[in-house]
Amino acid sequence: MPQVDFTVRVGGDSATGGIVTTGEIVARIAAYSGLEVYTTRTIPAEIKGGHVMFQLRASEEPVYSQGDDVDMLIAFDQESIDNYYQLVKSGGFLIYNSNDGKPPAAQGLNVYGLPLNDLAKQINFTRGRNIITIGAMVKLFDLPYDKAEEVVRRQLGRKKELLDQNLLALKTGFDYVEQNISRESPYHLIPPTGGIQEDRLVMSGNQALAMGAIAGGCRFYAGYPITPASDIMEFLAAEFPQIHGTMIQAEDEIAAINMCLGASFAGARAMTATSGPGLSLMVEALGHATMTEIPVVVVDVQRAGPSTGMPTKVSQGDLRLAIFGAHDDAPRIVVAPVSVEDCFYQIVHAFNLAEKYQTPVIFLSDQDMSVRVVTIPPFDLNKVKLEPRLLWDPKSIDHGGNGASGNGGGEREYLRYKITESGVSPMSLPGMPGGQYTAEGLEKAESGAPIYTPEAHSRNFEKRARKLANALHDYEAWQMYETFGDLDAPVAIVGWGSTIGPVKEAVLRAQSEGMPVAVLYPKLLYPLPVEHIGAFIENRQAIIVPELNFVGQFGRMLQAQFEREIVHLNKYGGQPLAAREVYNTIKQVYADVKVKAQV
């Protein structure tokens, strides 16, 4: 067990401001001080007003989930005290605003009242309460003050005057604790080893994803603002113009994806990012991309639905929409990253699959992963290889060319939708003489000319399915999956997406208690890696599928595919999965299937 494994929850009303900032600054101070961090947050969908919760977990070892229990609660208002004090561990801490709240009459809590309003008034900075609190925490937990200053400078240093005020607030909180709370801190967050020395980035899933898009060769983005995907657009708006890319804020999601299709048709690697409501609007264009065989990457940062739902809460409810959302059979590839770091590498795979198979790829992130700030190793560009699109070579007889360059007019015509063994046909791009064709949404002959014969229609269905099946080779070759745990265990967990973190923690705990579990997280969800998953679950006595949706969308897919009973762990309240919930399920499964625990 790590010596330091510490969870802080910050709660307050968003109208008073700064709750998420407080959390993110504390997270960064911890990260800068040599700890691994993992954060989660729930914010109201409203701009001002409404309850905000931010949670930080810090440890000297990698952290996989938000933490089940709270070591310290920072409550800016009474609601936060009342709602959360029971989550605080015995011996834990409560910091509250003693000008604006009453502590609970609970035993076993270390309660520190900070007269935040008074302190803020003293320094003439009413909005400084959160930074004063941070200063107090730094002292209480013996964090390096210089790191705290550095973070405040980097995060809040845009305006000199405001920065000075914030630095003063930090000092005020620090000094207050030093002078008024005489006891020495019982909690040294920095381990004697000094924490982790390795190079780390502190960033969110959306930031990692946007950087992955840049590395993955994406140079065209069109999108429409939507929570929780907008910051991908904002990130690329700043970066793309510097790398000769283009970012367009479209008039709606339908326009966004059609702009991407136009750009990709013209040769650019193109992406849009949205959430459930936007993906719903893009469904028609996605079918069109399958039909015209145009590569495009569509990111869906899933949020709780249906309809408007809960825009700032997490869900994994769009799996069925991603896979099946189309009229008639319009197969596309569906990729799901499992973590913030993974967002970077999997989005590169998403682009490579889209280009290689000339097909839309849906990338299923989620709200929790997208906003969560964690420490991760720097990205390794050596691991990034760009798969090119198969372009038409007019000199190649195989490509239907006439063997000569020039302005077409040879004996053989270019066949954009040529039936090939792999299903992939060489694609020409505007500007290539002789390669003219129409990207056609109607059913068509190999040339692209509309045709309605049963033969052509059947042949094209087979072609479009054939090329996707080949993506399964890349699944193997690029190792688009993670396995861990005891691979000989009688119980398996097969999951997808960001639930992997709490599963990792729960499995470690269960394992140490003699309940081994084998875990598989495929990152390619369509086409489904049937052979790999089938072999993995074949001899297990029980299969648990944890996911954040009501019906168990992935679990039911596996049930249908393998005709196996599935233990569904479905969570659908809009919150991330907790390690304890997974652990309890494992325990229950061991009891139910009477698998003998191996002690």
Partner: protein, 293 residues
């Protein structure tokens, strides 16, 4: 180092192009007498006279009789979904500004399902040419009222007469900020060819409405012959108020170039953004440094 995605080669070696050089092997499926035939042959003529290499020309479309237009041309074509031709054309143009991009459609595609995109393409001044073949009816779905059908029109979906007031595409174009606005008639091929040439040559968003009657479901040839006439010779296309005044006339439907304005195109504007954003050589390492602890 970032790997750069592929860049496609371009050639400019075509000379002496004839209208037939733009004709594909796909035979038009339009009804005999359809106004769209006239538009298509004027288009062939216009692009050949302008000498645009066919491989440098992209024609995008949506759904409707007009949507089949690209397949009849030996250019690059994109037959998109219903109503989305302008986002498609915007994507093509912004990814490859050196291409000549035309968008074609009908009144339903443009002003009903696709209306949400029209003002945005216009206000951005995307350097594309939008030709709307307006027959005031839904032809491909066999004769329902369209957003430009006149009041009282009795058709299958309006058996007691159309009660939806028709909209005025030219005024919309003015309001949205199109920088070239014109109107043609498929029975006036010479003038139409000239308008198409001017619309394509204009740098910016060109909107060309062409009356293109539907002989099968709503034959308006005689009507348009009676109510159309050329814009007065003294009309000054840089006079926006005068152009709008002519556009407002519902008795006489004027043909010709209503308006032209010189304004930076969308790709010009975005080049400005690139210049503003670029500070020396791009470094992915530096980007990571922003997030390094």
């Amino acid at each position: 180092m970032l790997s750069e995605p592929q860049i496609m080669p371009l050639h400019f070696d075509s000379v002496n192009l004839k209208p037939n050089d733009y004709k594909s092997d796909v035979k038009p499926i339009w009804c005999p007498g359809c106004g769209d035939f006239g538009v298509l042959s004027s288009f062939y003529k216009a692009v050949s006279e302008l000498g645009i290499p066919p491989e440098q020309l992209v024609i995008a479309s949506g759904i409707g009789c007009s949507g089949r237009f690209p397949a009849f041309c030996k250019a690059y074509g994109f037959h998109g979904v219903h109503g989305r031709v302008l986002p498609l054309a915007t994507g093509i143009k912004m990814a490859r500004p050196e291409l000549v991009v035309c968008a074609v459609g009908g009144d339903g595609d443009a002003f009903s399902i696709g209306m949400g995109h029209f003002p945005h393409a216009a206000r951005r001044n995307v350097d594309i040419t939008y030709i709307v073949m307006d027959n005031e009816i839904y032809g491909l779905t066999k004769g329902q009222a369209s957003p430009t059908s006149p009041l009282g029109l009795e058709k299958k979906s309006t058996p007691y007469g159309n009660v939806d007031r028709p909209l005025n595409p030219l005024l919309l174009a003015f309001a949205a900020g199109a920088t070239w606005i014109g109107r043609g008639f498929s029975s006036k091929p010479k003038e139409m060819t000239e308008l198409i040439k001017q619309a394509i040559t204009h740098k910016g968003f060109s909107f060309l409405q062409i009356f293109s009657p539907c002989v099968t479901f709503y034959d308006t040839y005689d009507h348009f012959k009676q109510v159309t006439k050329p814009l007065p010779a003294d009309h000054n296309p840089s006079d926006k108020a005068a152009g709008m005044k002519y556009a407002m006339d519902e008795e006489t439907l004027y043909l010709g170039k209503y308006y032209e304005e010189d304004r930076p195109t969308y790709d010009d504007a975005y080049s400005g953004v690139r210049q503003k954003a670029t500070k020396g050589a791009y470094s992915f390492e530096k980007l990571m440094d922003k997030y390094r602890r």
